[in-house]
Symmetry: C2
């Protein structure tokens, strides 16, 4: 008998795993529970993912790909650097609200991460830093704003967005991306 892998099964496993990892300590989230919740046998589960770390890695890797794709789209949405900043802020808020387990997944993965092993979300961070730094430097050169320290500006903006996502909760107040962008660009005035 030939057993085939189907996208539906793989997606179901990933979706169950995301929820379980985000709500349990890593060593408490069991492959048995993932198999049961996803309604597959343990043999099937292990044919798709060799262990919990592989599942984790796949989840974060896919989220990183999605972030890279949407960031690029937001960054190309206008020629006006101010509009592009706001599109990026909006993209982050929407992405994390669409995937309510992503934030906790990243945080768990980081704490569980063994030094020396590849940490998949680091790639997403570096993509985001580079995009924002480049945009801040571009706006500075074009005279749209003054930003002598794009890396510092990038940390301020992305750290601020993170705190809003982390300590607020959906539904977000309307116009949040715009207010956040205004505050970043123009400060308290």
């Amino acid at each position: 008998m030939v057993r085939t892998r189907t996208p539906g099964t793989r997606e179901r496993i990933l979706s169950v795993a995301a929820k379980l990892f985000a709500t349990h300590r890593f060593h408490e989230a069991r492959m048995d529970d993932i198999a049961q919740e996803a309604d597959v046998g343990k043999g099937t589960l292990y044919r798709y993912f060799q262990d919990k770390e592989a599942l984790y890695h796949t989840l974060l890797d896919r989220a990183a790909d999605e972030l890279a794709r949407r960031l690029d789209e937001a960054d190309r949405s206008s020629t006006d650097p101010r509009v592009r900043i706001e599109a990026i802020v909006e993209m982050f808020l929407v992405l994390f609200d669409e995937q309510p387990h992503l934030f906790d997944l990243i945080q768990h993965a980081e704490v569980m991460h063994r030094p020396g092993r590849n940490f998949p979300w680091q790639r997403a961070r570096e993509i985001a830093w580079r995009a924002v730094e480049t945009l801040l430097a571009e706006g500075h050169r074009a005279g749209v704003w003054v930003c002598a320290d794009p890396p510092l500006g990038t940390l301020m903006l992305l750290g601020g967005i993170r705190a809003v996502i982390r300590f607020g909760s959906p539904p977000r107040p309307s116009g949040l991306a715009s207010r956040l962008t205004q505050m970043f660009l123009y400060g308290l005035r």
Copy 2:
């Protein structure tokens, strides 16, 4: 024979535990290792702290007290709201640089935290939010700046400081607190 508790022993245990918790997965950090590193017997260790969670709790609780004390000091350092903001930014940078394990400890504790149990660092967060929100509202009322949304401003500032601490490393560039404050107050100009 009467065994007494000495502050030296307690401090030594806490210092060893902070380092071990920050660098190991929670379930991998063993009371045995803490006892050995701190050069005390296991019986002594358990007389001071009944388990790993008690140790963790004590470490974060002390850090929260220290943060509250220094925040209050920074907030009273001037009558000028701009100077007070910068004093608070500087205080955060110094506090976390002085305690290099604190950041990871908080992150580990949050991921390991069981819902419904008291999470000691939450108290520190609320104290910091309240202080910054109050200051932003005061400056707004006094006409020093325009801040229609102090809670959002607070998240932006504290999230930005967190990112700078998390993704930079000591020694910090000179004037960092001042540049961070300028960017927050005046934006990109």
